[in-house]
């Protein structure tokens, strides 16, 4: 029995009418007073999850519990949860004061009706019956839950309906808050967000930051149990955003209520949260404290999404010994011998030294970042991102050290091939392992198309993007890679050696390693021998792309 969870999401899925799955089997338990952040790239289902908690969407499967009570199908106006919207959604026809008082004016306090002797008056609760009936109707229309589950839920509801129909219960009259009470509460909320002087101002005359504060005040004045924030700082400039981050955090501590925050900005998530939920394609990738997620990412996606990182293919060559970048390193994680793994090295964990180091490389690129320099160092054929406060010239040969606690090893994720250092070339092909692959770059911007000059044009034709040299993350599913037998044919896009093969029930899983040490994992019905050199090809539509920066960076 876990009673201290304020909100629980159990096996929650959201499947839209067109059969697209926005959220898949989401499980989350939130403690009272926690600051929790949903983090992920756009379209990962984080906003949909938030909207389900708010009540704007109902889950297709699973249930949402608030203080142990199922609220999955309760409409938003009946939930003690308030939301701060992405673009604030303030009411322009009301001034600051009336915007904040909006929720309070709707509030009705139930008062027990009593007869002259002081005994409660009992009545059939028609309103409750109506609510239950509409919930019954809603559940009976759900498509994605099993028949037994549906029947069990409907029977339970029917039982309740019958109970309320037969049994008179206490009846209530509803009283509005007085003007005085509303005024006190609004004044307090204005004080919390520092807007006392602006209460009579029109919404349109406020700056973005001030509107943001009004939106927060409007939500917290209702004293919700949970405050939802949907990318609330997205529309502010950088300086303002930093200030608001700190203020939100302080507000969270002062109010003591649960905050659920949605963002795609990893820095924001790391700064503010107690717990971060990293999501991708509707699936939770990792739940943990900011430190755990940064230091111990569960897979390559999390490592790449949170902070800057170098990710390499490695092999375990002994007890707590790992080989990558053509060198044997000591590490702290224990994995079975000869296992292929992903290695993450954070740029700040690499030390540039003048003495002989573990590995050496040539500085290829240097960017001044204010507090330090960011170098791209070529170690053999691999790039290594390093941060250092010392100044080196481009082209210098440097020695590098990586300490064991700077090396984090992750079990290889064999569900999909992820290439985190791909880029788009001038022919709108994606470069994976120095080989061009045809791909569909219009997927980077929904509804977009490519014009005759090769630029990406947005759906409304208002924006044009030049994606040449854009850094992307490419993903290819294991079953979408085909083998080309004749490695000299034009069809063949990449050539490599089979370095690993394993038989899984009814098919083989191979790992093909190219000359540049890039791995392609694929499944096949046919058997090939270890160390065979084979060619591979991938259909353009099977390569999934994600830009590393916002698409607006490439606008021309």
């Amino acid at each position: 029995m876990q009673d201290n969870y304020i909100i629980e999401l159990k096996n929650v899925s959201k499947i839209y009418d067109d059969e697209t799955t926005a959220v898949d089997n989401f499980n989350l338990y939130v403690r009272k007073g926690e600051f929790i952040t949903f983090l992920g790239p756009s379209g990962c289902g984080k906003s949909t999850t938030l909207r389900m908690i708010a009540g704007f969407e109902f889950p297709s499967k699973g249930s949402i519990l608030l203080n142990g009570k199922d609220i999955s199908n309760v409409p938003p106006n009946k939930r003690p949860i308030n939301m701060v919207f992405q673009r604030y959604a303030l009411f322009p026809h009301l001034d600051v004061y009336d915007n904040i008082a909006f929720g309070l004016r709707l509030k009705r306090l139930p008062q027990l009706k009593k007869d002259k002797e002081g005994n409660p008056i009992l009545k059939i609760d028609k309103k409750k019956i109506r609510e239950l009936k509409s919930e019954y109707h809603l559940i009976s229309k759900k498509k994605h839950i099993s028949e037994e589950e549906k029947k069990a839920k409907l029977d339970a509801l029917q039982e309740q309906i019958d109970y309320y129909k037969a049994t008179p219960v206490n009846s209530y009259s509803y009283a509005k808050l007085t003007d005085k009470e509303i005024d006190t509460k609004v004044a307090r909320a204005l004080k919390i967000v520092d807007l006392e002087a602006l209460e009579d101002r029109n919404i349109a005359t406020l700056s973005g930051g001030q509107q943001q504060r009004v939106a927060i005040a409007r939500a917290i004045v209702n004293e919700p149990e949970i405050l939802l924030l949907d990318e609330p700082l997205g529309a502010l400039d950088l300086k303002m955003r930093k200030d608001m981050q700190i203020e939100l955090k302080e507000m969270h501590e002062k109010l003591g209520i649960t905050f659920i925050y949605v963002t795609h900005d990893q820095e924001e998530a790391l700064t503010m949260s107690d717990t971060i939920v990293v999501m991708k394609d509707g699936v939770i990738q990792q739940i943990g404290t900011p430190k755990a997620i940064y230091d111990e990412p569960k897979n390559a996606f999390v490592a790449d999404f949170i902070g800057e990182s170098n990710i390499y293919n490695g092999t375990i060559i002994g007890t707590k010994k790992v080989r990558f970048l053509d060198h044997n390193f000591d590490c702290l994680d224990d994995f079975p011998l000869n296992e292929k793994i992903d290695v993450v090295v954070r740029p700040e964990d690499v030390n540039i030294t003048n003495e002989p180091g573990m590995i050496s490389g040539v500085i290829d690129n240097k960017i001044f970042k204010g507090v330090n320099y960011q170098y791209t160092i070529m170690v053999g054929k691999n790039e290594l991102l390093v941060k250092s406060i010392y100044d080196y010239e481009v082209g210098t040969k440097v020695n590098l050290n990586i300490t064991p606690n700077g090396i984090h090893i992750m079990k290889k994720d064999y569900t999909v091939n992820t290439y985190t250092d791909s880029w788009i070339n001038k022919n709108n092909q994606v470069m994976i392992d120095e080989s061009p692959f045809d791909c569909d770059i219009t997927q980077l911007l929904p509804g977009s198309f490519i014009d005759e000059e090769g630029y990406l044009v947005s759906k409304d034709k208002a924006h044009k993007y030049d994606l040449n040299d854009a850094d992307v993350v490419a993903e290819i599913a294991l079953d979408k890679i085909d083998v080309v037998d004749d490695i000299s044919s034009d069809e063949c896009q990449v050539v490599g050696q089979i370095v690993d093969s394993i038989y899984i029930g009814d098919h083989y899983r191979y790992i093909v390693r190219t000359e540049n040490e890039e791995d392609f994992v694929f499944t096949s019905q046919y058997s090939y021998n270890l160390n065979d050199t084979i060619g591979l090809k991938v259909n353009a539509k099977d390569i999934k792309l994600r830009l590393k920066k916002e698409v607006s960076n490439y606008e021309i």
């Binding site: 919207f85 009411f91 026809h93 009301l94 004061y97 709707l106 005024d183």
Partner: protein
């Protein structure tokens, strides 16, 4: 400088050409000559005759009653349609918008004729051969005439609105209907109002639909309903435009002018009564 003067004189010329006919009409409403152009000296005779003419007064009464009732109905219908369309799925919205567009671009005569055919058909097949033409058929005609224009007036206001407002209102405790009244309606009310005014105008000066769909009723009693436009048409058939029409149109013009002035004055008024109330509330403490 010369360019500027030329530009202004062009605008004033156009305005002058637009308003000269109305000014002439107003001037000639203050003389009792039958024909415009002859001046028999200043008099209020025509104004007196206008208010004594039962025929014209009945037509004016009919016109106003129909205009107000049909405008209210068309405004409700058009506004609900626009809000519904705005929150509908893309496909159903496209269908709704196309259906709405047809009456707007279609010739009025087509609509009037098709309404006649429909009323006759319904009368013959459902009401057993009864003659349906009455105030009600006229009202239906006018509502159908105006509702698409209300839709078109409300739609841009909805598009300017943040679509999350409705959800924000729900989130703060509104039931769906309250959210519509308290969050969405205040945003679109200028569009609703201009749609209402347009409906009144369309109904006031409509001739074709009125002539086709009217029957007996209203102030005309057992006879066919006469509105200002049908009355003028009937009079012209027999002789010159009745001189009483000149003061009538003058009065209509002045009423419209007053309404327009009143609206633009209201818009510029920005005294915040609410904030004064609040201050009083706090001073009481």
């Amino acid at each position: 400088m010369v360019k500027k003067i030329l530009g202004y004189s062009y605008i004033y010329l156009i305005l002058l050409l637009m308003y000269i006919p109305i000014l002439v009409l107003i001037v000639f409403s203050f003389t009792n000559a039958t024909y415009i152009g002859t001046w028999n000296g200043f008099s209020f005779d025509l104004y007196g005759k206008l208010f004594q003419s039962e025929e014209i007064m009945i037509a004016v009464g009919n016109t106003v009653i129909i205009a107000i009732i049909s405008a209210v109905c068309a405004t409700v219908l058009g506004t609900l349609g626009a809000v519904g369309g705005f929150y509908a799925k893309r496909r159903s919205r496209a269908i709704l918008e196309n259906i709405n567009q047809i009456p707007v671009v279609n010739a009025e005569i087509v609509m009037a004729l098709s309404l006649v055919v429909m009323f006759v058909f319904i009368g013959n097949n459902i009401f057993g051969g009864a003659n349906l033409f009455s105030f009600w058929t006229l009202l239906v005609g006018h509502i159908i005439l105006a509702a698409p224009f209300v839709y078109l007036n409300v739609k841009p206001k909805l598009q300017q609105m943040d679509p999350a407002l409705y959800e924000a209102a729900l989130d703060l405790g509104c039931s769906p209907r309250q959210a519509l009244n308290k969050a969405v309606l205040p945003e679109i009310i200028p569009g609703v109002f201009s749609g209402f005014m347009l409906s009144i105008t369309l109904s006031l000066d409509d001739f074709i639909v009125t002539a086709f769909t009217r029957g007996s009723g209203l102030l005309s009693g057992a006879a066919n309903i006469e509105t200002i436009s049908t009355l003028v048409q009937a009079k012209i058939k027999k002789g010159p435009i009745p001189p009483e029409m000149r003061p009538l149109t003058t009065i209509i013009f002045l009423i419209v002018l007053l309404v327009v002035i009143f609206i633009s004055l209201r818009r510029n008024k920005t005294i915040n009564v609410k904030s004064m109330k609040r201050r009083k509330l706090r001073e009481k403490e």
